[in-house]
Symmetry: C2
Subunit: 167 residues, 2 copies
């Protein structure tokens, strides 16, 4: 990233037209997120923009959206001190540290919002790059869900629950 590190900021509805193609392509691949590969724009807008506590983009001016993530409470009421995030990095930005930068950004944001921990509910076990990255950033695999993800190419594969207590 270094000098080319893109700005990570809260998104607005004005960013959505540039976010949706990235999200659509990500979910269509069917290898990282449970969202149906046939999800409509309205469905993904609801889960990525409307439902979360906050949504962010990595984007310079009107340039391409290089990444996006959301923060939300993972459970209601008595579980709402643990947050959940989802991250997507554009193909052209991969391998440059943006996922790591967004995850660290999200942890700071989550702490500022008062969250005490962060949980990922369904990390696809075959997504080794993600698993390695989350581990490097302090997340632990606290559970394994047998065959819980229907991978578009590989069929049913295990998924991990990953968890990090925030500072």
């Amino acid at each position: 990233m270094n000098e080319s590190k893109p700005l990570i900021r809260r998104c607005t509805e004005a960013d959505w037209p540039a976010m949706w193609p990235l999200l659509r392509a990500t979910f269509e691949a069917g290898d990282t997120y449970a969202f149906s590969p046939q999800s409509t724009e309205a469905e993904i807008h609801a889960v990525w923009m409307a439902a979360p506590r906050a949504t962010y983009v990595a984007r310079e001016g009107d340039g391409p959206v290089l990444g996006t993530y959301f923060i939300k409470a993972n459970q209601p009421g008595l579980g709402a001190h643990v947050c959940n995030c989802g991250y997507v990095v554009a193909p052209e930005a991969q391998g440059k540290g943006l996922a790591s930068a967004m995850c660290e950004h999200s942890q700071k944001e989550a702490e500022a919002m008062g969250f005490l921990a962060m949980q990922f509910n369904l990390v696809v076990s075959t997504n080794e790059r993600a698993v390695r990255l989350w581990r490097r950033l302090g997340f632990e695999i606290v559970g394994t869900l047998p065959g819980a993800f229907r991978h578009m190419r590989l069929g049913l594969v295990d998924a991990f629950v990953m968890f990090k207590t925030l500072d």
Copy 2:
């Protein structure tokens, strides 16, 4: 249960007025479910009646609701082959096998709906009776979430992720 085993059936809106006081009292205790103890009737109706794939009651005629449970997909799209259920038993019906009967009923229903597995996302570790029961019914603790439940009397306690592959 035996000869006094109550009928477990799909509920209708006509059952709701008798379901809500039981659900309210359960969630107000703040020791088993994450739903806020201050949840409104509309909020709980949304999660217990409207959102799930199906909701059931254990009730004879117009008698008291002795128990209720819901079934829903635990994740969208590529995780939607795993279901999630929530169960509540009325105080006067506890210790008579109704939770066990509802869980077995829910597994049959879930299989008929095509679900391949059942997952509980936040089993409060101090709810030993529930943990023991789910284990007896074939669920395994596949994950431990540190301090993920804010117990009304005990403060932050661990929660378990429990999982069972259906037949």
